[in-house]
């Protein structure tokens, strides 16, 4: 099969950038979208050009490194699928495909299709953890966790930190990313001591970088792990509580 690509090229953060058109033929529908880009890059290199820079590592949809906006959709047209798991069979012969980087003020373009997602790390550094120095833990089975709670925490923890939620959000908000980590930890008994300080610090850090959630719901649809916006509601609830609760009473059973 063959396709025509309109790809974003940008040499660095200062360069305004532009689209470049490439016709790519002799493709197999069984190859992945990124393998198609590999092939194109091979041909560009041999022809003396500079290959298109894009990121991808595990190519099995778990590391969160890859991420392209394909025809206006973060990670492309297939639901619950990261860019690396998207196959050419989802396109038709002769398609014109637009490929852009994640667009958000917080995610500046480094080169071509690669953006800087370090604000996510800053949000985690602010509070996305349970403080437990190595060696200080008690036996794992001393803290029973209701299965439903553990499952819900796992649903949230499945986030791969790719940034598609921000790319999809009309407001470039990072609520889904932040909510997923807050919910993962705040749902578990182990996460309770730091529950309110965690949500405050993470939300405050998030707001330094990103837009604000107005409940569009695009993030959930773009998320390759289909993380639910219900976690955003949990985030909001804990954030509001953090402003009201008398934390000195947190040790008391309710």
């Amino acid at each position: 099969m063959k396709v025509t690509l309109k790809v974003w090229r940008q040499s660095g953060a200062e360069d305004p950038g532009r689209f470049e058109t490439h016709k790519v033929d002799e493709l197999s529908p069984d190859m992945s979208f990124l393998e198609m880009l590999d092939v194109l890059n091979d041909r560009i290199s041999v022809a003396g050009g500079e290959p298109i820079e894009f990121e991808s590592d595990c190519r099995e949809g778990i590391c969160g490194t890859c991420g392209l906006v394909i025809n206006g959709q973060p990670h492309g047209p297939e639901e619950r699928t990261a860019t690396c798991q998207l196959h050419m069979r989802k396109f038709s012969d002769g398609d014109v495909i637009t490929v852009e980087p994640w667009r958000a003020k917080a995610f500046s373009v480094i080169k071509d299709l690669i953006v800087d997602r370090s604000p996510f790390d800053s949000i985690i550094a602010a509070g996305g953890f349970i403080s437990v120095p190595t060696g200080s833990a008690s036996d794992a089975n001393l803290i029973p966790v209701p299965k439903e709670a553990a499952d819900a925490a796992m649903d949230a923890a499945a986030c791969i930190g790719c940034g598609a939620c921000v790319a999809a959000c009309p407001n470039s908000a990072a609520q889904l990313f932040t909510a997923a980590k807050v919910a993962h930890l705040n749902l578990l008994p182990q996460g309770q001591p730091e529950r309110y300080i965690r949500v405050t610090k993470m939300v405050d850090t998030m707001e330094q970088f990103f837009g604000s959630c107005t409940n569009h719901g695009e993030c959930e649809r773009a998320c390759p792990k289909a993380i639910s916006v219900d976690f955003i509601a949990m985030l909001n609830r804990d954030y509001i509580s953090s402003k009201i609760k008398n934390r000195r009473l947190a040790g008391q059973q309710r």
Binding site: S11, S28, S45, P51, S131, A140, A158, L185
Partner: protein, 640 residues
Amino acid sequence: MTFTLDPKIPEGSLEEKWDNHRFSNRLVNPANKRKYNIIVVGTGLAGASAAATFAELGYNVTAFTYHDSPRRAHSIAAQGGINAAKNYRNDGDSIWRLFYDTVKGGDFRSREANVHRLSQVSVEIIDQCAAQGVPFAREYGGLLDNRSFGGAQVSRTFYARGQTGQQLLLGAYQALMRQVGLGKIDLHTRTEMLDIVVKDERAVGIITRNLVTGEVKSWSSHAVVLATGGYSNVYYLSTNAMYSNASAIWRAHRKGAGFANPSFTQIHPTCIPADNEFQSKLTLMSESLRNDGRIWVPAQTDDLRTPNTISENERDYYLERRYPAFGNLVPRDVASRAAKKEVDAGRGVGQLRNGVYLDLSHAIERLGRETIEARYGNLLEMYHRITDENPYTDPMRIYPAPHYTMGGLWVDYNLMTTVPGLYAIGEANYSDHGSNRLGASALMQGLADGYFVLPNTIGEYLADYLNSDTVPIDDPSFIEAEREVNDSIDRMLSVNGSKTVDWFHRELGRIMIDECGMERSRPGLEKALSKIPELRQEFYRDVRVPGEGESLNSSLEKAGRIADFFELAELMCRDAIDREESCGAHFRIEHQTPEGEAKRNDADFSFVSVYQHTGDPSTAILHQEDLTFENVTLGQRSYK
């Protein structure tokens, strides 16, 4: 540089060694720890856990990753689980049994004392991770669930759906980021280590390249820890991530660190076979599928019918036939070779005839589709996405793929390499897995090294350097190392040939999988040893690395990694020839039992092969660390 192999195995009975060692090791006073700076290269499971723990102890840590975030490390892709000798199931497990299984599974080519320590700390890992909030699978009573995994006869594997590696990595990443937030870890992302700096026969720092700006820079420290993973990508098509590479450990090897058992590489039996010529990597399907799936091929060769039209008596469930006791759950190396045998015999399935069937239909009949979906839903969805085939109605196609490397930098009981002050942890070291790793043990070893072993052993070395400054980066040793790095970058950029870096990688991979993969033979390895240097020469003559060194240039990054793979590949073949026996994942066709099983030669090869760099892999000097087994009796592995 002097080269000594002192494993430093502590005194005492096996159970007491670790305690004795911790007691006899020198400690660094808590108030003095902040006077030390430790460099950690790589922030996957082992690196992140080590960096976080060092920082918690009070050391200053400078951590490096070539990823944009520590959360991307390939540890994240481990699916199945993590072993621990908790015996929560009351099914006869114990620290001793995990130790024994690991030594036996590794086909008696690992160090007893290390493996026993690994089993001891395995229980602490689970406690630590559960406290961190790793969402392990639970029973309805709220307690941790376990499953049996990869041939183990007890249920000792803890898991978080099919994403155990992800969750454990995120736990370590969160601990790391907490210390970054507290200012105890100075984290450098998108920064690749390109050399180790050695002065007065000890590691004093590293040289890095900033992958965004291209800046080459020196970093000085009291100790350097490499946690940079394995080298399966030498095969080009492997389950490893695209960026996974051997450059950090290879350059450490060039600077004096002994490389142990380079030919011990594991081929994972259950991966999705390649689909087309553009394939960039292979995807693993957790081998937990073997718990419920039955593996078969058509009994007749060249049977091209669709699987569901082949009746039961025309199928060969070859693992069940050949290994009645273990059946589909034989260890990885056995399962992999058996699959290769069937495909080579012309009974391969799929369009390219390059796979065997893993059939869930019997399990679906027995347990219902819902149960299977609950167990493997994510995996099966991934399979469907990649192959466009429905695993609930048609048998899955699987084939072995390079997956894990047991070989790596030689380390002593303290995890220090032959270069004082240079440590290797996780998959980067030649490890506790001998010549074959058991399922769900990689995560265990990475976290054991990072959380519990190295933080307890590094003090012994550091104690000598109290109040001594790190070597200034304008020292000639740094200047020289920086110059070498710049030269090699310039060299690759200036070739301006006609073939891409990937082309060379593919060619190298083809040689390696054919001659140094699941089966090795002397003629094949000799062929590889003549082809690899030719290819390497062609690389320096005809590679095309577009772009420049002063900005982000992924072709340049790859070129450096492939250049190192050439040398490593040569050493791997060399080691595979030297080791005139079959053991674990290393299968020499000259050394097999009449039934076609691996035939060990304990009399002559009960040692760790450790290579000393001389300038060229072909002349590397082989040293031996003799393995003595005082607590287990060496037996032929039998899974019949």
